[in-house]
Symmetry: C2
Amino acid sequence: MSNTQQLDVLNHRQCLDRLARVRVGRLVFTEDGLPTIQPVNFRVWRDEVVIRVAGGPKLEAATANQVVAFEADVLDPDLRNGWSVTVVGHAEPITGIDDLVDVAGTFIEPWVQGRRDHFIRIRTDRMTGREFREEAVPHYKP
Amino acid sequence: MSNTQQLDVLNHRQCLDRLARVRVGRLVFTEDGLPTIQPVNFRVWRDEVVIRVAGGPKLEAATANQVVAFEADVLDPDLRNGWSVTVVGHAEPITGIDDLVDVAGTFIEPWVQGRRDHFIRIRTDRMTGREFREEAVPHYKP
């Protein structure tokens, strides 16, 4: 037996399905003109990615309607099996009270009182996903 | 008992130490003017981050000496414990034959013959790391 690597492109629904399986992703934004990456808690909410953040640069980026990138994945240590989904879009703060109550209920309780009380959404129009699969291939014995 | 969240800033050596524990990270670069994130295999080599890639956009970015960001982390699902290290810098292909032989030996065998035969390095001058720790705090009972 030898192994071969499969790379599948995930469609929109498959991407959302994978994202719904995890709770931590990575937000990529620009700070002082340089790319910055920060781990974030997120949820899939109404087919969008919603990130819960404390104040600071991430929120500033959001309120500035910056184009950000978001990524989540589950990958094995050698990148042979797993998936990765990336969303690129404008980061927009959620401000409507009904929406805030609704989305807040999907997150676990904040572990530090008074922190993590802002929610930023990223539309998933520009979402791409890939799945890696290692498949065993029987040796061909003539 | 209640819990409190600690956030430690990691120094340069601590960042390299954390990076050496994992083999998969994420490369952030620009493609068609938009941020792109791809999972990559990497190693810490001579205190730099070295990424092994097949051809394509990642290599193009490297040869164009683009400023890229690289991130690796180990995080629990609710972002209570773990670490994240980010490196920002110019991506440079490794071209010297002695360096190529040396760095290639630190990677596992490629699983697809003829692929993954380029190496890109990112200097770690601009490296930042953070560690999250949740600590149990005894209730104060007067």
